[in-house]
Amino acid sequence: MKEIMLGNNAIARGAYEAGTKVAVGYPGTPSTEIMQAVRQYEGIYSEWSVNEKVAMDVAIGACLGGIRTMVVMKHAGLNVASDPFYPISFMGVNGGLVLVCSDDVGAVSSPTEQDTRIYAKLFHIPMLEPSDSQEAKDFVALAFDISERFDTPVFLRTTNGVSHSMGIVALGDRVEKRQPVFDKSSPKFRPQGGVHPTVMHQNVHDRLKRLEDYANEAEVNRIEWGDRRIGIITSGTPYQYLKELLPEASFLKLGLTYPLAGALIRHFADQVEEVLVIEELEPFLEEQISAMGIPVKGSELRPAVGALSVEILSERLKDLLTKFGKSLPERRPPLPGLIIRFPTLCAGCPHLAVYYAVRAVQKKNKDREIVIMGDIGCYSLGIAAPHNMLSCAFAMGSGISAAHGLSHALPENAGKTILAYIGDSTFLHAGMPALLNAMYNQSDITVILADNRTTAMTGGQEHAGTGVTLTGDVHGPARIPDIIASLGVRDIHQVDPYDYKATRKAIEAAIDFKGVSIVMATGACRMFPAKIKEEPFRVVSERCTGCGMCLSIYCPALILSGEKTGKGKPKVKIDPFICVGCSFCSQVCPADAIGSR
């Protein structure tokens, strides 16, 4: 049985076939679809944990219980989860433990671009890198086998190129190899109690040596002999690009990219005239291979940032390709007149309403400059034009603490009013300790907590605040207002963001408060988990004065009608297909020109 599968879905299938019993994760592009596909399989307990560190802890507990466990996240999430991941490398596993981490190479939907391969070295753990959907599936079972054979967590690392590409996958059956066993008195999992950490550290180094021997024999590291004038060492999607460009070359395709197969690499390098090491982002393979004393070329032939492609490599390797008689297709420039279609906040998005209210408050209070430290979510789009609302947004839950820190950097806040802006899922992920810290240390900031009842940016995943789990079980949601109050916040303003006046007043009152104040704006996302579309509003053209106030909401439903006022100002209309009937623009319009009928 064959199926065309997304790389991420193939990983989920691989987890199913390998007999995985527990799978946990937190959403993040480009990894999100893995958990959404895992939940559909029988025999796997799966959950969205509240953050990646928690997911890692849950996974470690399940692994200690003797079953096969997978934990899934994006590159930034691995930074969050790295604390507990380090000791599990020292302790070793009971049931197999596989970490799947997808790097957003090219920063398609991330504030950073990061090469997580370096973690494999830091953690002293083996790393597998698939090149397509079939390998993505197959490598999961292999990862579990290596994990149990070598008593180590295993890192299955992908990039967007694998996670978000589709290819044909041959499906297999589920094989359950492990039964739960837990010896509560085992010294193995008690650093400082059973075994001293330095002894564990030595074990880890010995384990790496055995893994290197294995790497030299592993089928996933394979030589494809071709023309021996050039030997290319590569892995992941770069392998696909190079096979496309120069299939005649000799290839050493590495599936197990840490620890490196030293003997195999030497054997390959000895038999080719020139060795190229082509990889994305950091020179991870190249530095190690160079350190083995093998002369290689690599970094000078490729960009060090962004995703590689056939096109980029064809330019960079032009001399080599010419040597092999290849003619490159003409790469034509873009045609004239092109404009960019920027991603936008959706029509009727509650963030548009809150942002508009903040700008209105700023206009009324010219004596103090409102500064917003942002966070990670759809509202991160507010960091760019036309919104330009956020002064920064860099990591999950970081805005509140950054605002607190900034408030101490500026003397008497230097005429500035410092705000933090955070969404519900992000607040529950890492914002809670930040708020606790701000309270504990008597900060003077205002937090706008925009609760849209979902994890919108990654496609509307449930979270603790909605009370619905990954598998659809419904229970009592975590009550964010109660959490805030229990942390000691006194000045709390709960508003409906679509009530313009109330939101504006709440923000004004909150910034006047000395101490930590919170404006909690609760309005459901209009896209997720289900589309909310009410009767569209419309502009009464005779009344429109062309003032442009409504256009500065930046709602995609508000567009120029093509008509002009007597004074030549462009009038506005509402696209009824896009408008979701939130009513916000009708409250903003000073001419009372927007109505629901």
Partner: protein, 192 residues
């Protein structure tokens, strides 16, 4: 690079049905025994952004993304997106252009200008354009949602698979209750 791989780039705006169309091409190619790779950007597509879906099939396909200058066909669900990806075509490639315009917010609010007469610009640059007004055709059929299947019908004229093979795949991809209108829509597109 010269090889036998067929490169079909399907582009549009989120919500237009680009993915349904590229899924159909992938499925039919796999059913006929070809290797298939497909790629589209995830994450931002639901935010009104551009949606390019790359489909490649052949004896053995390596890269999942089509390089600039190597597409056999660009099927554009929207005019601006057709203009954007026109330079992905091979010199003798073909553009199937749906005559639909979806204004980006910056155009609607007067910050940008939507390019005029895109079919003419394409032809002035030597591109072989097949124009289709699939939205109007879909409206006539009483179902605006079949735009994607109409365009698939047009695309099918330029690929090697038979009408029956296409209909079987479309039948599998759309829900039972929409099956007959989609098959009609496919026929209408193929008849152009």
């Amino acid at each position: 690079m010269e090889n036998s791989t067929k490169n079909i780039l399907i582009v549009g705006v989120g919500g237009q049905g680009v993915i349904l169309a590229s899924n159909a091409v992938s499925e039919i190619a796999m059913a006929k025994g070809f290797d298939v790779k497909k790629n589209e950007s995830h994450g931002q597509s639901q935010r009104g952004g551009t949606v390019p879906s790359h489909v490649r099939y052949g004896q053995k396909v390596y890269a999942p993304v089509i390089a600039r200058g190597e597409a056999d066909i660009v099927l554009a669900f929207e005019e601006l997106e057709g203009l954007r990806f026109a330079n992905f075509l091979k010199p003798n490639g073909k553009m199937i252009l749906n005559r639909q315009r979806i204004y980006p917010p910056r155009v609607s609010s007067g910050m940008d200008t939507y390019p005029e007469d895109i079919p003419k610009t394409l032809r002035d640059h030597g591109i072989d354009v097949v124009e289709v007004d699939a939205l109007q055709m879909a409206d006539k059929m009483g179902n605006a949602l079949v735009v994607s299947t109409i365009l698939l019908g047009v695309l099918s004229k330029y690929l090697e698979f038979s009408s029956e093979e296409w209909k079987e795949v479309i039948g599998q991809l759309v829900p039972e209750k929409h099956r007959s209108v989609n098959l009609d829509a496919f026929e209408a597109g193929r008849a152009i």
